[in-house]
Structures are given as C-alpha cells and as structure tokens.
C-alpha cells in the first residue's frame, strides 16, 4: 500500500493548512475595524488606557484572558499587576466588561470580523443581559 | 485489502444499509444531545452514569476476550484456532471502537476531549483507561491486519508481529482490570467497592466475548463459504463454560459477603436490583431474567450432550451473552448508584434518544465488524479458490 505519490503531496497540503495562521499573519496589520470605546466607564477615565498597551491587547488579549483565568481559578491569585505596576482585579465580568460594558459593539464586532466565537459567553455575561 | 469490503452480495449490502440507517438515526439523536445536553437522557444527579458507560463497561469485556483465542493459539500452539483467532482480534477492534465512542457520547463537553492529553493526570484511572484502550485498539488493528496480509500472500507474518501478539495478552487483561478499577476504587459506593471486581469483570468478559464470537462464527459459516470448523467452535464453547461457571461463582461470593456480614451498605444495591429497595424495583424483572438466562446457559453448557450439539450450544451462547449484557451492561453500573449517598432512591431508565444513540454506536461497531470480517472472508475465499485451481 506504499503510495508516495499521494502521501507526500498530502503531507504538504497538511503542512500548509496547519501553518496557515502563521504565514497569513506575517506583516499584516490587524484589520481596520473600529471597536467602540465609548462607554460611560471609559469616558470617565482620565487616561484612556486598557489593562495593557493597546497593541498588546489587540494581539494578545485571548492569551491574557487565559492567564487571568488560570491565575484566578487555579492559583487563587486574583489581582493582576500590569506592566506599569497598576493593579486590576482579575475578572472578565467585573473588570473587562466594566469598562467594555458595550460587549456587542466591542468584543463582538471584532470577533464577527475575525470569525471567532469565544465560548466564554456561555457562562460569562455582560451586566445588561443579567435579567434572566 | 479494504477494497474487498466494497463488493458483496445483495444480502451483504442490505445489512450494511440497515446498519447505516441505524447509525444515521443515532447520529441525529446525538446532534440533539450535543445541542440540548445530556438532559435528554435518563441520567440524573443521582444516577450520573447510565446506559452509555454501562455499554462501555460491557464492551471492554468483549474486547478483552480476544485473548481467549490468542493464548491457546500462540502460547499453546493450539492450531485449530488458526482460522478464528483473527475473528477474535477484529471483534476486539470493533468492541474497543465502540468503547471509545460510548465514552465520547457520554461526555458533557466532548469538544474538550483533548484535555485528557493536554493535562495528563496519572492519579486518575480514567486517564489510564484512555491510554490502555487506545493502545489495545492499535495493537489489534496492527496484529490483525499484518497477519491477514501475510496470509493473503501465503507467507508467515513479519517477525515484529510476534512480540506485539505477546504484548497484547497482558494488555487485554489490563484493559479490563483498569476498567474495573474505575469502579472498585471509589470509597462511597459499596456495590463497587470490592476487591473481586476486576476478577469478576474478567470472568464475565471471558464468557460473554467468546459467546458472541461463537454466535458470529456460526453466522459466518451459515452465510459465507468460510467454515471456521467444528472443533474450534467446540473449544470456544468449553471456554465459555468455564468462564461462565467462574463468573457465577464470583457473583455468589459477593452475595455471601454482603448478606452474611449483614452490613446494610453492602446489601442495598443487591436488594435494589433483585428484590426492590424501599418500594423501588424497576430493574428487578430484568435482573431476574439475567439470572434465569444464566441458569439456562449453565445447564446447556455443563451437560456435554447439549454443549456438543451446535443447536443447543448457540442457545447457550445467546443466553450467556444476554445474561451478562443485562448484568454488566445495565445492573452493575446503575445498581452502584442506587441507593444514592443519602440512601434515597432515584431510579433510572434510558430515554428514547439515549437508546437510539446507544443503538447507533452498536451499529457502528457492527459495521466495523462486518467490514473487517468481510475482508477476512474474501481473502480466505480467494485463497481457497487459488488452492482449488492448483
């Protein structure tokens, strides 16, 4: 059943597929979508800053959230000290969504664009949908 | 060789289509379960494992039983098994596949199945079970395929196959031992907390697996040109006999310990299963059916006259299979949850969707079995034709 003629191109295609996110992302700026930053909480801020610099948040917020999650739930460390030494309570709902209370106009617009559907919202939720 | 499964008689295709329809129905129901959750099954907070896990437990036994052919053939050079040993190995392949599927359909979050590998946890028996089951599946596919390939070419199997076969023997014991440990190590469940659990599992496995094999071998003889031969079937019959006697003996040991010691926790599940507990007794008729079938099978098996007669031997094999299916594929798992840790009772009965999913998984198993056996038989038939031409 040895059939190199099929196996090798098969492997190459497989390789191309698994590395797809890598080479499609090289040098490409994240798309020009405008997640809405106008929420009462952010308006109130003196310095309009996220928990980390904007570029980092854009690229790495999913990883940061995973770290937050493991730190809070698994290690019991529920305070995050950011790169500037500022403290944040680790909470998706009480911290991220307090500032970004407009989840649908913020997280969601990006995710719809990027075609990701974080399953977090099966459990975590924004305040305004807390009715029932 | 797989292409041999693509040509067959009308009967063959009808059977395949029936299986595919059952798989389809099961799959549609699984999609519903995937969306709505395991709430569509009969399981509950109190009986948190049901039909799926009990089928899994039963089928691990069927899978392990392949060694009952491998040991005589490879260790004791019992040549008469040469034709059917591969049937045992492929039965193991189909059974282990069903086991894995039953675990899968039982998961609340199937998308996260890789967590078992991403966060390996050696203190969990389930982790080991996943390892040994996959290993056993791999071993039997490789061994079965390699020996069949060799047979087709008329050469002895490659030298690396032998060590794998020897490994597969303790491995088969391990899959059922580890599966018994899933239950036998839980502190609060008296029914399962018994040192004899693994031994009982093996005894029932070595009865139910060969019984199924015997039935299938006779079907193969009836519907194909391939005849496994009378003597191997008689030998399998003897294996079933001894294993079934041992199994019943082990069961009686459990009864003795529970009732002579008179410790309530040890008696409760037995009472629930065989007599009813505090007015609940949904499984009582089924469990008695299991006992009656076991008695019938023993009478037919122990009596040499009825064991040697293939007609009565099949009846005995069917009785063994269904008796043990009820005992292990139903009573053992459900019984362990009743009464619950508060000594109150929530009963369990599978729902319709749950039953369809279960049938669907069995149908996948039979499909795999059919295809693998078809390949074996086609190879055998073509060798037979070649020999006839010479």
């Amino acid at each position: 059943m040895y059939d190199g003629g099929k196996i090798i191109p098969g492997l190459i295609i497989f390789l191309l597929i698994i590395t797809y996110p890598f080479y499609t992302n090289i040098g490409k700026p994240v798309a020009e979508i405008k997640p809405d930053l106008k929420t009462p909480e952010i308006e109130r801020l003196e310095v309009k800053e996220c928990v980390e610099p904007k570029a980092f948040m854009r690229a790495e917020h999913m990883k940061l959230l995973n770290e937050w999650r493991d730190s809070a739930v698994r290690d019991g460390n529920r305070v995050y000290i950011n790169s500037k030494g500022k403290n944040y309570q680790i909470s998706l709902q009480k911290t991220c969504l307090r500032c970004h209370s407009n989840r649908d106009k913020f997280c969601k617009v990006c995710h719809t664009y990027a075609g990701v559907k974080p399953y977090c919202w099966n459990c975590h939720f924004a305040k305004q949908e807390g009715k029932g | 060789m797989l292409e041999k499964a693509l040509s067959g008689s009308r009967r063959y295709w009808t059977w395949i289509i029936i299986l595919l329809i059952l798989i389809g129905i099961g799959f549609i129901n699984y999609l519903r379960q995937f969306k709505l959750g395991l709430g569509i099954t009969g399981m509950s907070r109190d009986v948190s494992w049901g039909f799926y896990i009990s089928q899994f437990t039963f089928l691990v036994g069927v899978a392990a039983s392949a060694v009952m052919l491998v040991i005589p053939y490879y260790l004791h050079n019992y040549k008469k098994f040469s034709k059917i040993v591969i049937l045992g190995e492929f039965l193991a392949v189909a059974s282990v596949t069903m086991c894995l599927l039953f675990i899968f359909v039982d998961m609340g979050q199937p998308m996260r199945i890789l967590n078992v590998i991403l966060h390996p946890t050696p203190n969990s028996i389930l982790f080991w079970d996943a390892l040994v089951l996959n290993g056993y599946l791999f071993l039997n596919i490789v061994i079965g395929w390699a020996t069949l390939h060799a047979e087709k070419k008329g050469i002895p199997p490659a030298p690396w196959v032998k060590p794998l076969i020897y490994i597969s023997i303790p491995w088969a014991i391990s899959i059922h031992t580890v599966t018994a440990f899933l239950y036998a190590g839980l502190p609060g469940r008296h029914f399962w907390l018994t040192a004899i659990m693994a031994a009982r599992f093996l005894a029932s496995a070595f009865a139910s697996g060969p019984a199924l094999l015997l039935i299938v071998a006779l079907l193969v003889r009836k519907y194909t040109k391939f005849d496994p031969g009378r003597e191997p079937i008689q030998a399998v019959g003897k294996i079933v006999t001894y294993a079934m006697i041992t199994n019943v003996f082990f069961f009686l040991l459990e009864i003795f310990t529970a009732f002579y010691s008179n410790i309530p926790g040890h008696k409760h599940s037995f009472e629930y299963l065989f007599a009813g507990y505090e007015g609940y007794g949904k499984l009582v008729p089924l469990m008695w059916l299991s006992i009656i079938l076991a008695i019938i099978s023993l009478i037919l098996l122990i009596n040499p006259g009825t064991r040697k007669n293939e007609k009565t031997l099949v009846i005995a094999a069917l009785a063994v299979f269904f008796s043990l299916w009820i005992d292990k594929g139903f009573g053992l798992v459900i019984g362990g949850f009743i009464p619950n840790p508060f000594e109150t009772v929530t009963e369990y009965w599978p729902t319709l969707p749950e039953t369809f999913i279960t049938i669907g998984v069995w149908a996948i198993g039979f499909l795999i079995l059919t295809i693998l056996y078809k390949v074996v038989i086609s190879v055998r038939e073509s060798i037979g034709n070649l020999e006839a031409e010479h």
Partner: protein, 263 residues
C-alpha cells in the same frame, strides 16, 4: 503494513517542523514584561479552611432558606424544579440521610426531624480530585477543593467518586432557570460539573462565604491550622461529628448537634 520506517521518520520530522513553526510564532508575538499575578491584599487567607455548622442555631425554615438562597443567588445556581436535573451547592437533608448508618430509631425526635445543612466537605483526601482525568477539580493549598469549569470535560467521574453527593452536573442549559442573574459571577453551561467552592471569589475580596455571612453566627468559618481561630475554639468546646468519617476523606465541615437546649 502501510507505515514503514521511512514514513515513520518522515512523520516525526513533520511533527518536529510543526513544533518549530509554533515556536517561531511565539517569538514573533509582542511581549509585555513585568507582569505579575498576586493575591489581593485584604483577602482572607488560611492554611486550612474549615467550617462548623452549629445546627442548634438553625431554628426555623427561614434560617435555612436565608443561607441557601444567599449562596444560590450569588452563584447563579439554577432552580430546575425537578430532582433529575437538580443543581445545588448547599441544601438540607434529614439526619438519617445526611449521616446514613449513624441513625438509630431511639434518637431524640428533634434530631430525627431536624434538617442538616449539607455542602461540599472540602476533604483533606478528596476522592473527586483523585479521579478527575484533567485536574479540572483540584485541591488548593488552603484546602479548598476547587472546580475549574473551563477545563471540565463532563465525564462525571467525580460525581461517582464523591461519597457525599456534593456535585451537580449541568444536564441542561441552566440559564433559563436562573431567576435573577448576579452579574458579578458567571453562570455555567451545559455539560460541566459544579459545586460549592467555599466562596473562593469572596475570600479574595476579604469576605466570608455567603452562607456564613447570612447565618447569624450559626456557621463558623476559619483556619483549622490556627490554634487560636474561632473554628478551633468551637471545635475544642463542643462535640462535633462529620459525615462518613470511616471513608478516610477527612471532611472539613463539622456539625454541632447539641444538647437539651433543643429539646
């Protein structure tokens, strides 16, 4: 056999390449240093959390309800209204069901009839943790047996292992069955197991567990490892019992049953 040695080597090479690619991928990503995860100052800390339920002080149905509702409303625990799908973190059970095997029919009537508050025992040797295949349930250094719903695969091995019936599974979508959602805490989803966490999220904010707070002193919470803690004082002054001590799990929830004052 279709996989010979050459192909095997090729496959391994491919794996190596894959790992290399992801490594480069990681390096190219932006990095922010000097970040830290710490325990909040002012959070309640212990070597070994434990709880004493003084059942004498639960007198009316309202006393139980207040405590249970506090827990269930804060943690978005759904109420399905049926026993099959039931999810509960803290609940009541009569003596003979809470302490099976320890009942006898000559017990004072009030003991036989009194509801006992049950919850996860946060055992020293938790069988649920022992069996979990993904470490989704695990024991923290302070003794709390946590449940990580992010990692749970819903195999329910822990439910079979728990001798106390403390674990619930989300058989159905819980959200429609939560009367009023608390936006400070997540809900759960289909297919994961949940249970009491000794209010790990409240301890981090310096608050006692919700049931303790609402119990008017009937539940005492504290550090078992600290000889001067209130739990230790209470334990040394009262005869207490635990559920199924013979199993060796070493529960950290104790019960004061009490004496005449209840008669």
């Amino acid at each position: 056999m279709s996989l010979d040695r050459r192909e095997f080597l090729k496959l391994t090479g491919l794996f190596g390449l894959g790992i290399g690619v992801s490594g480069v991928n990681l390096l190219l990503r932006s990095r922010v240093d000097a970040r830290e995860f710490v325990t909040p100052s002012g959070s309640l800390i212990a070597k070994r959390w434990a709880m004493v339920v003084d059942i004498r002080k639960f007198r009316t149905a309202e006393d139980y309800k207040r405590v249970i509702d506090a827990c269930h409303s804060i943690h978005n625990v759904p109420d399905f209204g049926n026993k099959k799908d039931e999810v509960k973190w803290i609940w009541t059970e009569e003596f003979e069901h809470a302490f099976p095997g320890q009942q006898n029919r000559y017990l004072p009537e009030w003991v036989i009839e009194k509801p006992f508050l049950l919850l996860c025992n946060h055992c020293d040797h938790p069988p649920c943790v022992r069996v979990c295949p993904t470490k989704a349930t695990f024991k923290r250094k302070d003794g709390i047996v946590m449940q990580d719903p992010h990692r749970c695969i819903g195999c329910r091995f822990c439910m079979a292992a728990c001798p106390y019936g403390s674990r619930s599974f989300n058989w159905r979508d819980p959200r429609p069955f939560i009367k009023k959602r608390n936006p400070e805490y997540p809900t759960r989803q289909i297919g994961v197991v949940e249970k009491c966490t000794f209010c790990a999220e409240r301890l981090a904010q310096g608050l006692e567990p919700a049931c303790v707070e609402k119990s008017n002193g009937a539940i005492i919470f504290g550090d078992l490892a600290d000889p001067n803690s209130e739990v230790r004082r209470v334990l040394s002054n009262h005869y207490t019992i635990r559920r199924k001590p013979e199993l060796g799990t070493q529960p950290s929830v104790f019960y004061i049953i009490g004496g005449e004052e209840n008669a």
